[in-house]
């Protein structure tokens, strides 16, 4: 209420027309920005994507009243994309659940349940299922595990939470521990890891500004990592050329200089042709290539290239569908197997693909022994460079036109920009994400880019490198502190089941003898000490035997099949939504419908929590709620503002987010859940003499708790991850780790994050007070280095390649490496150092070996081991493709993983009969406005309104061909299922001309599902489970399908439609499964 009559103010004051101050109300006068009324501002990190933007969380009266960008963050400078900007609604909005729910077997609806009771029940289920399914041995080898329980999720969680999940479940004998990293970027770890030694992005976001040419391919940078994209705009403003290679013209293309349309799934042909162009025109960075890569290394005589064998490399076994990789080795080098890698031997004898093993190796650098022969003139016909030259000879611009549909002039444009902007004075950077990773040969896409960047001399240098844009807030962390079946923390491989294997044998087999991986014994023993404390002693192998053993692939897709078979009976979903996000979502739901029990922890009632009452199969009648005997627990999760913890962003940067408020109702952190679950199970098992219970009972599990909810201290967990010495003092870094049991460390690559007892991840020195590296903002693994392999930013003699591109150099006076970044090299090892004969470990690396995790210290143009589908990238068609592979006789990758199943039918490809039934290429992707499987956006009105419906993008030509009407509905059909979507006719998804044939592509966002504020069919109803053999990542970026106007049928008519198509295409269980 106004106290004075504004008219009086108007008549008496200066504002005679009453359009200014006279009209102001008392309320307006009293208006204050609510940020200024906050009781406190809490530093946090955006919970959505892996850019890791800083957030300030404003709290008043113990409520979050505003979340906005933190201007101090060197990555984001205070900016947030729409998702980050919607964090307030995400965390405080209506979409969140605050009550624990229970669905009894056969029940028609949810019941509320007391949280404590639910926890007891879940603990009972775990104990019972474990007993029932315990397996001491498998095929005569000790496994000491349960295959009855699986967990999924972790990329949205904190590192500390992932750590407790892995620790507790491993001690319980669970091996099927998986998270989004599998479906997202697992092929990155193989591709980058085998090439450079570490599986992470080689650079960091802000350094993009130093690039002279940014090639974004397989990523929709502006849409999926919008705040990171500001650094591309910065580079552009500073003169860089930006190229976007994508099937669609996206928001990234809109501001790029060049957009290159490409057929989904054909990038190896495109990149291969650039490699060919670089080699044939001698455009590679000669000095870099000779000294820092394995170009000069000579290969064995019995190696045969895909060039010679029409798409196969030597060593292929038709029966086993795998390669024996012996012949791929360097000449004159003792093989890994001879030095005792019994894991590989074991697998080979069993005739199976080493499950996930190459990924392990890939991520960690390869074990190599002996000294390979080199020809530094690069003329030897068997030297890597010459092999490369021959291999890529057939990848010509004409091939690019035929395979990728890229016109020659565009291809040449890319070659020109890329090569003109590489060299001593210039650097070009590649940026990719899941447009590359999610293919049945995804690892090879990344290998191809790695080869190209090595040839151009762009790795380890400012403005160069390969920027792998990861997905979730902590997907990098959930790979580092892994909730992945095949890894222990810090990329130490999970042991496989062998006869009488002891710690010593394992280390002998799996620890390389050169490079930094030679120190694996220290890393592993320290880990075992962290987990089993006093109980871990030298005489009991530090409890190495308590680690459950692998016997093949236990990836999330194998788990689904195990659920359908009935071996996996209990499932814990910790922030993942496979009913929407994983390939072939129907299989995911059918698997869950066959469980005894399911625990879902999430913010909202996502599809993976409610499929039993409203899933698509209920609608079609394929399932009936009352027949589903799965017991379902739903536990509401606490949000990032309600807990402490660290996220690791896409550039390996650990950033701590502080708790702002207490969670409401039954919402609890996953740290709370895992800790108390462990506590209850240990209480229930207390006194058990059963040897299977000993690992749980002896587990170190005494974290301090605080507050009303007894929340465990995340910092205490971080301290354990960092590790301590015999005195209990925090370790300063991984160099301090010992293999004698005197140090404990939960994850060796994170060692140093709690140096001096200070949470280094919580460091927040403002960007404005630092250089672009911002070394005092949070903490990056390894050892706070921001650009990996940065020794390569200097010439062999240690001086910078050029003034423009100085980063790290040798200071002769101080006899040290110095520079802007922390040198990724032994600080005191001079450029002139050459290892004495017989040197082992780190000593064996010379002063010109920048890739210190690799056993030969070199970047690998050719991968002699570690990549199971070939040492060099080779173009194969996707599993389902309407195009014939014109490069080789092999249509598909001969070693891809297929899982024939009634609900996982593959389609005829190329010129096989029936292929024309599914004539169009489908690719799936993201929208800026939504997040992944939708759990964090479809329940959030501010995001939902921006993209309220599932749609398909089609070209005007395709629309005309099939009678699709803009704005109307269309039905898209594959051999798995059919979905409906609104039609968006647009020039942005051009039809391609390959080999005289017009090929249409269909674009589908994958965010929709049936729950939430906005709903729609999930794209993953269409995709199949067909996997990259290295990483077990699914192929969801290139499918083939048919499209027709109108909505899809309802009820039983839907599966009928799918079957009718299958019949027309002549599909049976063998279709598409040939080698």
């Amino acid at each position: 209420m106004d106290l004075t009559w504004p008219l009086l103010r108007q008549l008496t004051g200066a504002d005679r027309t009453a359009r200014g101050p006279a009209a102001k109300s008392a309320k307006t006068e009293a208006l204050r920005a609510r940020t200024t009324t906050a009781d406190r501002v809490v530093k946090s990190v955006c919970p959505y994507c892996a850019v890791g933007c800083g957030q300030n969380v404003y709290v008043r009266d113990e409520k979050v009243i505003q979340i906005e960008g933190d201007p101090d963050s060197p990555i984001s400078l205070g900016r947030l994309c729409p998702k980050g900007a919607a964090s307030l609604q995400l965390t405080t909005g209506e979409g969140r659940m605050h009550k624990a729910l229970y669905r009894p077997p056969g029940g028609a609806g949810w019941q509320e349940i007391d949280l404590g009771t639910a926890m007891e029940m879940i603990a009972d289920r775990i104990i019972a299922t474990r007993r029932e399914t315990w397996e001491w041995e498998h095929g005569g080898r000790r496994t000491a595990r349960t295959m009855g329980i699986a967990s999924l999720g972790g990329a949205t969680l904190d590192n500390e939470e992932n750590y407790l999940i892995k620790k507790l479940l491993t001690a319980l004998g669970v091996v099927q521990i998986e998270n989004q990293a599998r479906v997202c970027h697992s092929s990155t770890v193989v591709g980058l890891g085998t090439s450079f030694g570490r599986g992470g992005a080689t650079t960091f976001m802000q350094d993009l500004q130093h690039s002279d040419c940014v090639v974004i391919q397989g990523s929709n940078f502006a849409e999926c990592h919008p705040v990171g994209f500001q650094w591309v705009m910065e580079a552009k403003a500073r003169g860089a050329v930006v190229i976007h290679v994508d099937p669609r013209f996206t928001r990234t293309s809109a501001v790029a200089d060049v957009h290159v349309p490409i057929r989904a799934g054909s990038d190896v042909a495109f990149l291969g042709a650039i490699i060919n162009h670089v080699l044939e025109n001698e455009l590679y960075f000669h000095e870099y290539v000779v000294n820092y890569t394995n170009a000069a290394t000579i290969l064995r005589e019995d190696f045969r290239d895909a060039e010679d064998l029409d798409g196969l490399f030597s060593g292929f076994g038709e029966e086993s569908r795998t390669y024996d990789t012996d012949s791929w080795q360097y000449e004159g080098m003792s093989t890994v197997a001879a030095s005792g890698d019994r894991d590989t031997d074991f697998e080979r004898r069993e005739g199976r693909t080493p499950p996930g093993r190459p990924e392990v190796q890939g991520s960690t650098g390869m074990p190599l022994d002996g000294s390979p022969q080199r020809d530094e003139t690069l003329r030897h016909p068997r030297c890597v460079l010459q092999v490369l030259r021959r291999h890529f000879a057939r990848y010509t611009p004409e091939m690019v036109e035929r395979v990728c549909g890229v016109p020659r002039h565009l291809f040449e444009e890319v070659c020109r920009h890329l090569t003109e902007n590489s060299g001593p004075d210039k650097t070009a950077e590649f940026v990719y994400a899941v447009g590359w990773t999610q293919h049945s040969d995804g690892s090879q896409f990344i290998r191809a880019a790695s080869i190209l960047q090595l040839l151009l001399g762009n790795i380890g240098r400012p403005g160069g490198g390969i920027q792998a844009l990861r997905g979730h807030a902590s997907i990098q962390g959930s790979s580092d502190v892994p909730t992945l079946f095949n890894l222990l923390p810090g990329y130490i491989p999970m042991p496989h089941a062998h006869e009488n294997e002891r710690l010593h044998d394992f280390l002998l087999a799996d620890a390389p003898h050169k490079g930094f991986w030679a120190n694996m014994p220290s890393y592993l023993v320290s880990l075992l000490k962290a987990w089993w404390g006093e109980s871990a002693q030298p005489d009991n192998d530090y409890r190495f035997g308590w680690l459950p053993r692998l016997t093949g692939s236990h990836s999330t897709y194998d788990t689904v099949l195990a659920q359908l078979e009935g071996t996996c009976k209990g499932y814990i979903l910790l922030g993942e939504n496979p009913a929407v996000g994983s390939a072939n979502s129907k299989m995911q739901r059918l698997g869950m419908a066959n469980l005894d029990w399911l625990v879902v922890r999430d913010f909202s009632l996502i599809e993976s929590a409610t499929w039993w009452k409203d899933g698509p199969e209920i609608e079609t009648g394929e399932l009936r709620t009352e027949d589903i005997r799965t017991e379902v627990f739903f536990l509401p999760a606490a949000s990032h503002t309600e807990k402490n913890g660290s996220f690791t962003n896409t550039n390996r940067l650990l950033q701590w987010h502080h708790q702002a408020v207490e969670p409401h109702g039954d919402a609890r952190s996953d740290l709370w859940f895992m800790y108390h679950l462990g506590r209850i199970i240990r209480r229930k098992l207390a006194g058990s003499q059963d040897p299977m219970d000993q690992p749980v009972l002896d587990l170190t599990w005494d974290y301090p708790v605080e507050g009303e909810t007894a929340e465990p201290s995340a910092e205490a967990v971080l301290a354990e991850i960092n590790g301590w010495d015999a005195q209990g003092d925090p370790l300063p870094g991984y160099h301090a780790l010992k293999d004698d049991g005197s140090t404990a460390c939960g994850c060796w690559i994170y060692c140093g994050v709690y140096a001096d007892g200070v949470n280094q991840a919580a460091r927040r020195k403002p960007a404005s007070e630092q250089d672009w590296i911002s070394a005092e903002w949070a903490w990056a693994w390894p050892a706070n280095r921001r650009i990996l392999y940065n020794r390569a930013s200097a010439r062999p003699d240690g001086s910078p390649w050029s003034e423009r591109k100085r980063l790290v150099w040798w200071d002769d006076e101080a006899q040290r490496w110095t520079g802007h970044d922390v040198p990724d090299f032994e600080a005191g090892k001079s450029p002139g150092y050459r290892p004495p004969p017989g040197a082992q470990g780190v000593e064996a690396l010379s002063g010109i070996d920048p890739f210190i995790m690799q056993a030969d210290g070199k970047g690998w143009l050719f991968a002699p081991t570690g990549v199971v589908d070939g040492p060099l990238p080779t173009h194969y068609e996707p599993q389902d493709s309407p195009v014939v592979n014109p490069l080789y006789g092999r249509q598909r990758s001969p070693v891809r993983k297929v899982y024939p199943h009634e609900h996982n039918r593959y389609q005829p490809s190329g010129d096989e009969p029936g292929a024309s039934v599914y004539p169009y290429v489908v690719t799936t992707y993201r929208l800026t406005e939504h997040f992944t499987a939708g759990g964090m956006s479809r329940f959030t009105p501010y995001l939902s309104e921006l993209q309220p419906a599932m749609f398909c993008e089609v070209s005007p030509a395709l629309a005309a061909e099939r009678g699709l009407v803009h704005g109307d509905w269309a039905t898209i059909i594959t051999a798995r299922n059919a979905i409906e979507a609104r039609v968006l006719v647009t020039d942005r998804i051009p039809s391609l001309h390959l080999n005289g044939r017009v090929l249409h592509q269909i674009g589908l966002p994958f965010h929709f599902g049936r729950n939430g504020v906005v709903t729609g069919d999930a794209a993953n109803e269409l995709s199949s489970i067909s996997l990259d053999p290295n990483s077990h990542i699914q192929e969801v970026k290139a499918l083939s399908a048919d499209i027709r106007p109108g909505r899809r049928p309802r009820g039983p008519a839907l599966p009928e439609l799918v079957k009718a198509y299958q019949r027309r295409a002549g599909i049976d269980e063998r279709t598409g499964t040939e080698v």
Partner: protein, 333 residues
Amino acid sequence: MSQTDVRMDGSAELRGEREATPGSAGRRRERLLVPKAEFDSYYGRPVLHEPTWQAPDIAGYLFLGGLAGASSTLAAAAELTGRPRLARVGKVGAVCALGGSLYALIHDLGRPERFVNMLRVFKVTSPMSVGTWLLSAYGPQAGLAAAASLTGVAPGVGRAATVGAGLVGPAVATYTAALICDTAVPAWHEGYREMPFLFAGSATASAGGLGMFAAPLDEAGPARRAAVLGAAVECVAALRMERRLGPLAEPLKRSRLLRLGEALSVAGAVAGATVGRRSRVAAMAAGAALLAGSACTRFGIFQAGMESARDPRYTVQPQRRRLAKTRAERDLT
């Protein structure tokens, strides 16, 4: 030109303005030319927001306000010329119309309880503010006039109020034209020169109609003549407006309501002036036709305005023409 070398200074310094220029990497290829579309708008969406006003409320308000204002004037004239029954019809009619118009106005407010906020300030820039103050001056007088006439109490005050209301009335009847013209609605705004006359004419016609309808034949002479005058003015104003607006007049020309309103007004006026002089029934019919005609005119104007706001062509094309003209003029000098 490229300056992407590594700089060591703080990133704030480093970060210039992000003045990236997309497509700056060199010459592009020549391509097929797509002819530029004649008229571009954003997916055919309106540029303007059409008024949120509801037709029954606001068109009704325009009509009733006009009726009230002109009736008061007619009543005053009748009173002064010794036509008490015509005067009473006018006064009572004015109060009823005023009541109705106020109801419509308040009903249309999003927060009717805050009607009084209209009196916080006096804004000469806001016809609605001016109108509100006008109504505040007019309303009590009109009320007093009617009350006195009905009750016979305080005839002196009543007469003064009658004259007062009669003098303010025309302003009440025409300010509404400024009210709607003082918007960005093309058909309204551009018609601002004629609109007040159209409204004045229509109001006069309707007041005449009311007089014919309710007053005895012998006193209704001024009403009949007023109707004729009003209808004539209305028609002429409408014609001129349509001519002057050019293409913008399309919605006006297309409006069936407007045509109907004109027809009813003319017919009512003519009938009133002829058979309406003799037959009470005919006078009532003619009066009703005039009232209906005036209402139709206002609803027609209202809807034509809405239509012109809804179609972006009516916003964009006149502005384009104007721009072209100023540019041409500028180029000449």
